[in-house]
Amino acid sequence: MTEEFEPRIVAFLCKWCSSAGSDLAGVSRLEYPPNVVPIQVMCSGSISPLYIFSAFNKGADGVLVSGCHPGDCHYTKGNYYARRRLNLVKKLLEYIGLEPERFQMSWVSAAEGQKYTQVIKQFVEELKPLGPQTKLRRNG
Amino acid sequence: MHKILNKTVFSKWVKELRSSKIYFPRKDDSGRWNYAQITPDEDAILDVSQTTLPPKKILFPQREIFLEFSKNIEGDGETLEVKEVMPEDGSTIIFGVRPCEGRAAWLLDKVFAGDFSDPYYWKRRNQTTLIGLACSIPPSENCFCLSVEGSPHSEEGLDILLTDLGEKYYVKVLTEKGEKLVEAAKKLFSDPHPEETKKAQAVQAESEKRLRRHLQEARLISEKLKGMFHSSLWDEESMSCIRCGICTYLCPSCHCFDISDEVDAVSPLRGKRVRTWDTCQFPDFTMHSSGHNPRPDKASRLRQRLFHKFQYFVEIYNQFQCVGCGRCISLCPVGIDIIEVLDKVRSHGS
């Protein structure tokens, strides 16, 4: 019997909001798919586009960047920069033909454990039919 | 051994060689020529032009795996397994090699032989047969092979030299490898008549007159270079150099490389040791781990390239490393012309 494809998602979570939100989901015993590899960063604005390309290069099927809501950034402005920069990254990846569903961004606050699980659930649902990401992956 | 092959049966000959990988110069959709593998069913027509990438891409690939390493963890102990990766078995035939490119292969052979013989290079080289095509017209407007002791019909490095006589090829077999290929389709070849031999010689002599560019007194320049290491000429000539690497990557005889480890997994450790092309024109080519860089500026790197081609190689092997193909001149984005620079070397101080 063939195993169903389980996408591997790399999630860059900002420490002050989204990572705390994911912790809240855990503490509240909310269930969500285990396909995520979380990486905590200080701020969504500190995400270099290089991390995203590198994640796809190493074989991630999907990449999520999640930060604080606009106005709530712990460093005041970081997420505004992220909003602009990562919009460009998304447009560029779509332009070269990568499926648009593979790169997502979300605002998840420290109190939104429920939202975090929904974001992940939806992401996994969208990635399953696409299959493994082979376009940018390095064949070791 | 000298033979004649009619062009009408040329593709039949190629068909007989189908057990090998066969490369022909081919035009791609952007109008550039490059050596590409053909299927034996494809129509084998030998056309004349200068490819962007020389046969070096096949003889000395841009990426070559030396070995694979992996760590195996068993219980309490761990072992490191190292496996050598040699080039695959199987013969390769490259058609349409220009005599200058054949000469470049011959020069590369000198470098990779000697005191330390490179097993990877030689395994591949011994499996490859080069079938040259003499240049009846210069493939590039910047060819100057005669000036560096080559010629449009030189034979070094080649296994067979074809000379185009219009409806037939004059086939000169130069090595055992070449002989094997002719033997594979013996019936297609005939012995040459004396007029055909004369015609081949006439075509070759005529081709020498067609070269448009010349570098005068290359040996004198080589001598003069010795005293010009600290000259200000290099600063002036390298002002417009953008240190891109095109001249070295597309040069048939440039062979500098870098060895690096490509790690596929960290825990447990697994990866490959890989050789890739490198170029003396990149700033970090000579970067020491202390941070010191003996060639920190463009002037020293341009000087290095010219010295290597026209002085150091002459000192060690008594040959110019430059084969006069003209690619570096045609493709330099800012128009730096090696012949022009060397002309200035010759007239410097006189």
């Binding site: 290089l50 290069n57 920069y81 909003r83 499926e99 | 109008g31 990426r63 690497g245 597309l250 984005p333």
Partner: protein
């Protein structure tokens, strides 16, 4: 029409009065018809300057070299450098000034207007001449090109020989200059991003197939990076040179060194290199087309690097390379930046 004599006179004056260290301009190459970058220091050399449709190079590329040269010298000559620019090249200077990479006082900008035409695409010229060797190419008075080849002179309409980027040009005269020759006549461009729009109209799979096919050819010679005026980083993503490897470095340490891109020209690594370069040029690329011209394998890099110029305009209303007082694209933001892609 831009008058070369005016340019030469200005250059002569600047060099004679010692106002500039040297002038970066266009001169005739050894083959007698192609322009090449030249560096002139004496007033007599001003006669070597030329202006014709083969002046394709973006000379602002050499401003980074000047900066490096000054950093190495113990007593640098602090006089400004003169530079001849077309409209597109001047936009590159604007971006470098926005980023404070160079100072305005360090430059004397000698502007030349392309007016109704621009520069040629050499492949189109080769096709047109069908084997004849060109001897000279000049601008005509009516906006056409006069091509002298094989003992005859023909007038060719600009449309036949113009470089593709000139058809989408939004700056046919310099936007910043200390001296200008030629008219400042704006030339309306119907579809300034037409080539990108055509690419976007293809399906996702078609675009992928296109880019995979093109980037497989890449031999990572980095000519595209070397010829770009904006790629001035001393240490690029692909040259991880600051991490020393000695005889004592263990295998594990080497394995854990940050290496974003492998040196091998495999398709996945080529993609990472070109994507990183494109994103680093977001809001900085001014479509001078040099990356595509320099590429020995004719990879159409313009389509990749220019895409973000279009996005900058459409998403953020940001015009790249026109206003020196504007901050760089990704170091600013607006409260109403689009966020509809964010969950």
């Amino acid at each position: 029409m831009a008058k070369i004599e005016e340019l030469r006179e200005e250059a002569r004056r600047l060099l004679r009065d010692g106002k500039v260290k040297y002038i970066i301009g266009y001169g005739t190459g050894r083959d007698g018809w192609r322009a090449v970058p030249i560096f002139i220091r004496q007033p007599e050399e001003a006669d070597r300057l030329i202006w014709n449709p083969t002046c394709v190079h973006n000379l602002s590329r050499f401003l980074a070299d000047e900066k490096r040269r000054q950093a190495r010298e113990k007593k640098p000559d602090r006089r400004p450098v003169g530079i001849v620019v077309k409209g597109c090249d001047s936009r590159a200077i604007v971006v470098l000034l926005q980023e404070k990479f160079i100072r305005r006082d360090d430059l004397v900008v000698l502007g030349v207007s392309c007016e109704k035409t621009g520069v040629i695409d050499e492949d189109k010229l080769t096709d047109k001449l069908k084997g004849k060797k060109p001897e000279k190419i000049e601008f005509g008075d009516q906006g056409e090109f006069i091509v002298a080849a094989g003992n005859e002179k023909i007038a060719v309409s600009a449309g036949e020989l113009l470089a593709e980027r000139c058809r989408e040009c939004r700056a046919n005269f310099p936007v910043i200059y200390d001296f200008l020759t030629g008219e400042k006549s704006p030339r309306p461009v119907e579809r300034p991003f037409g080539s990108i729009e055509r690419m976007e109209a293809l399906s996702s799979e078609e675009r992928w197939a296109f880019w995979k096919n093109e980037l497989e050819k890449c031999i990572r010679c980095y000519a595209c990076r070397s010829v770009c005026p904006m790629c001035y980083c001393d240490e690029c993503v692909v040259d991880s040179i600051s991490l020393a490897v000695t005889a004592d470095t263990t295998a594990e340490e080497k394995a854990q060194k940050i290496k974003w891109v492998q040196k091998s020209p495999e398709i996945s690594e080529n993609f990472v290199y070109h994507l990183v370069r494109a994103i680093h040029l977001g809001g900085r690329c001014i479509d001078c087309g040099e990356c595509e011209r320099a590429c020995p394998l004719e990879i159409p890099l313009r389509f990749l690097n220019k895409k973000l110029e279009k996005e900058a305009k459409e998403l953020f209303g940001y015009e790249v390379g026109f206003d020196v007082s504007q901050p760089p694209l990704i170091s600013c933001f607006r409260d109403d930046d689009p966020g509809d892609f964010i969950r």
